[in-house]
Amino acid sequence: MTTNLFQTRSMRSAYNHLLIQIEELKESNPLYPIFILSPSSDAISELQTNLGDTICISIHQFYTLANAILDEAAFTIQEINDIAVRRLIRSILHQMQEKEQIQVFERLIDKPGFIEALINWLREMKSQGIFPKEMQSVVHLQGSILDQHLADFYFYYQEFLKAQHYSDTDGLLWLAAEALEEDETFFQQNGAFFILGFDQFTNVQIRMLKQLADRFKEANIYLTWDANRDQASLVLSRLSKTRNALINSIHMKLIFLPDHVTQSNHLAHLHQHIFESTLAEIIHADQNQIVMVEAPSRTAEVRHALREIKRLLLENIPANKIALVCPNKQTYLPIVRTVSTEFGIPVDFEHPLLQNPAISALINVLKLPFEFPWQLTLQTLRSPYILQPWLSLDHINLLEVISRDNHVIAGIDQWLRSLEPLNNSIPEYNSEDYNSKRLVFTLEEQTLTKIKNGLNTFFQHLTPPKKASIDDYIAWLQSDVIGIVPDSENEEEISSSENSLNIHLACQQSPFAQRDLQALSFFMQTLRSLHNASVQIPSKDQIFWQDFRDELISLVSTMEIPSDSTQNSISFDRLEAGRARTFDYLFVLGLSEGEFPSPPPVDPFYTQQERQDHPLSLIKYNLSDQVSLWWQLIGNVNKKLTLLRPYLDENGAPWQASPYWEKVRDCFTNLEPFRIPIADHPMPKDAACLTELLTALIKTEARTIPPQLEKRYRQINYAKVIQNQRLSYLPAGNFEGVLGKESIKKEIIQEYGNNHIWSPSQLNQYGNCPFQFFAQRILKIDALKDPEEGFDSLQRGSLLHAILEHVYRRLTELDITPSIENQNKILEVLDSSCDSIFFNAPERFGFHPSPLWKYEQEEIRRLLKALIQWDCEENDKINYEPFLQEACFGFSSQEKPVLVIQNEQSHLELRGKIDRIDRNAKGELRIIDYKSGSTKYSVSAIRQASALQTVLYALAAEELWLEQGSLVKTSLFWHIPIKDYSGKLDFKTTVKQNDTVKEALQRIFLHLGLIQQAYFPSKPADTRQCRQYCDYAALCRVNRQSIAKAKQGDLS
């Protein structure tokens, strides 16, 4: 029984020695039993690769070794899973709260971060072998209240585990150490024990090692060390503590292993001298062994690293010889995931379970009950992973239109009501264009009944009991949602069930069946863990659906699917993972100041001083000491080390290098970092994917193109020409709304030729932006808005119009003139009009009232009251009386015909609805167009033909309503919210003789000509800007040149 502490300069030397030792032992006896203890699964994989098919070797991590020991000791102890630990902690905290034992953290007991902190604290206690009673007795004498609460919590926690014969994962190590200490004859192994890859051990681990060392013929512990450095050296700080702890606990022989140098000489130099206070030697760096790269962003950093990795792979370097590490994996993971996929490089990283589309669909299903929100319900019905038998795709398409028309937001009632024509009304809009009929009125009753029944069955099927046991909910999910009957999970053929959403079957039939089934299997594991936890930590018999759902979703959101281990891939991990591995090529990302080294994590329970002063020895084990980690990592690279860092932060400010980056540079005379310029693009020879290659070819204007890329190259060049045309000051072209094809022009003339009956809003739209007219009227693209509670601006406008129409119609009937004298009477009329309109406004205007509806009504009343008071004051000076409300012309159902406006070459036919016409004693008319917005219209906008109501309605009124000998006196826009008017036109003679009208008409006829020539360029309102929001912004390319182009087309 001998124990050796082999001190080696690097993991490579340890590996070499280990492999030689094993080879020697196996040479004499292939069945000689060997145990190896390693810190991580990655390190174990590397060992397994190196050991090949050598037999009788057991490779363990501490936890698996503890399990093996406890198995042999026939311990009837059951390990509880993480979910059960969390549930147990919550349950104990609630019990303590009931007993008023946890005042200090009473309000934290349901906070996930606090539960996490407690788990870490328990781990700390257990890794140091501190008993609950020991903690209690010490802290109740001299500890703080917090300590006393923690000690009591620890006591209850451990009591429960003991009573149930359970252990948590950390407790297993402790139990294994105790089992070994209690019986020296137990777990005797007639073989060798190797421990490598560790740079620290907890108290309990050392107790285990001490016991195990005596049970093997020989035990060999490998520790990275540098005998040439002082023990107090910075790089040895952590290792020195570990070494002393081992020497003080275990009797062992100290052996310094000579360094079998396989490391390239410059890396060896770096490893030997880095962090020396006074550098003994500075040499000229070899850029083939150490490279430093500064990138303008993290993305550029990752792209460079992966480009180099791809180059290595193309040179047939095995993927397992290359690794990519970074200080903060969560920051770099999304970038590495995206870029490696783009470059087609197999990188070993986990995929969040929630990102799998099948699981995402399943989670959506969980979120449906009991409200069935509009968007989520339709998404679920349309998901390819939901094979529901009740609604066909055609039905779902119809349902989407109907539910959108009827503003379904959530709730089974709303859904079902939308499918009943009797409950639908045609909403009123104050628009001359609105003439479409709702879909629900056009469908046959049979179709509607089918949709309604299917939808209702879908809702009933997905409505779980509001309260049930965890097992009942799990069973419901398995059978009714996933479509797995218990015990049939492993069967290959699972037929579609009439009573299920059949997600499992959908995964089997998916084009990515392997990926989806793997994800589903992980989801099922989560369900099993939930079930096990509910058995291990029994809680109340029944829980609410929401609680079950929230716990399940939070568990699934933390789960990750490991990458395919059978695939040879590049390792991507945190820097710490590199301690126990060796690499030929290592790429280190993120070496900027503050990233690495970084401050240690904050401890919510104790400050450093409190730990030092604590009566118990409270040692916080951190993942690594960063100086020591950096030194160990450098020692593990054999051929080439590439260091990368971003030199700009996310705000574009300069970002200095990490001090460890500088320490590397200090060891060489010429190690100048290569700096990637901002917005740099690789040359064709450096391109790592097709997109990069094509872009590089275009940028360099390559003449020789590989035949397989020719088609795409042509397309990209064409796109470049289009883009250049857009960015030029040349007149607008085919790709900017100017359509050249005669066949298209013909079609446009057919619809918008001389027989078309125009409305002022159509003409305004072209005057405002021809491209918007093109998108909406010619392409017939409408922005679909998701239903929301409350009314939108259009519906609000219609509501205001309707009330004003009602008020002034009543005034005409009652023969009341707006005046200060009549003000009170008019306000009474306003009140009754508001009551009448508000009564059925939601149905009439098609909106679901929000909780604010009551207050909105009051606000509208206030607004209109102020408007009417203003009207009374103004009208006192001019004495008009309300004459007509909503005076329509040109609609087939109305007596007034289409207005025809003639010019020398052409004519225009017009229909419209005039909000209000007032008349004075002389029979003169005043035309009013209500505006619910406060943006005023200038006379120049009228001349430009972008605000034509005042002109066109004045012409219509003159033609259709004016008594002979009289005249239209005024036409104006009335802005309701600001009690003011704009765009006012005063007429001294006929409307047609007014200069502004003449100019506007001239402009209208110009626009009609341009429409017929299919001329629809975008016309920004001012420099590069359109309105703040435009539904069609995604379709048009407004840029600084657009104004010039609009001017060239006489659209300025």
Binding site: V104, F105, E106, R107, L108, K111, P112, G113, F114, E116, A117, L146, A232, L234, S237, S277, T278, E593, G594, P597, S598, P599, P600, V602, D603, P604, F605, T607, Q608, Q626, D649, N651, A653, P654, W655, Q656, P659, S850, P851, L852, K854, Y855
Partner: protein, 147 residues
């Protein structure tokens, strides 16, 4: 760099709060760094994390950390036998130089139990905050306005 009399006064004055006012580029950061080092020098019993320095931007904090690091390393090479500087060098990763936001977050995390807040709280960005505000308005409306 030779320090002026006033700079020296700002560096060496102790046991009282101090406001140092000076124009851009006149050496305020230098004074702060030297004052930091001077405090460590004159209080050998203090550990590095007993001192805090806050700056307005993360960029300035980074620069100050680098300069303090250099100063401490220089002290170690000048006084290799003084254990206090060796200790400070070992603890350089714990340098408390940050923006005021980071310092506040750290204080809250370290005292999460006393403050009764989740120790793993996260600071949400502006977009998330806006979404949360909208959601809160909606739920408040439902709770308080609807019967």
């Amino acid at each position: 760099m030779k320090l002026t009399e006033q700079q020296l006064l700002a560096i060496q004055t102790q046991d009282q709060s101090l406001v140092v006012q000076a124009g851009a580029g006149t050496g305020k950061t230098t004074v702060l760094v030297q004052r930091f080092v001077h405090l460590l020098e004159t209080h050998p019993e203090w550990s590095l994390d007993n001192l805090y320095a806050i700056t307005f931007t993360e960029k300035a904090a980074r620069e100050m950390r680098i300069r303090l690091r250099q100063e401490v390393e220089e002290k170690v090479s000048l006084h290799p036998d003084v254990p206090q500087w060796q200790e400070h060098r070992l603890n350089l990763d714990k340098l408390n130089v940050s923006t005021i936001h980071s310092l506040c977050a750290r204080i809250l995390r370290e005292n999460a139990i006393a403050c009764q807040i989740d120790p793993q709280f996260q600071v949400i960005d502006e977009q998330e905050a806006n979404l949360l505000k909208e959601e809160s308005i909606r739920s408040t409306q439902k709770r308080t306005i609807l019967p």
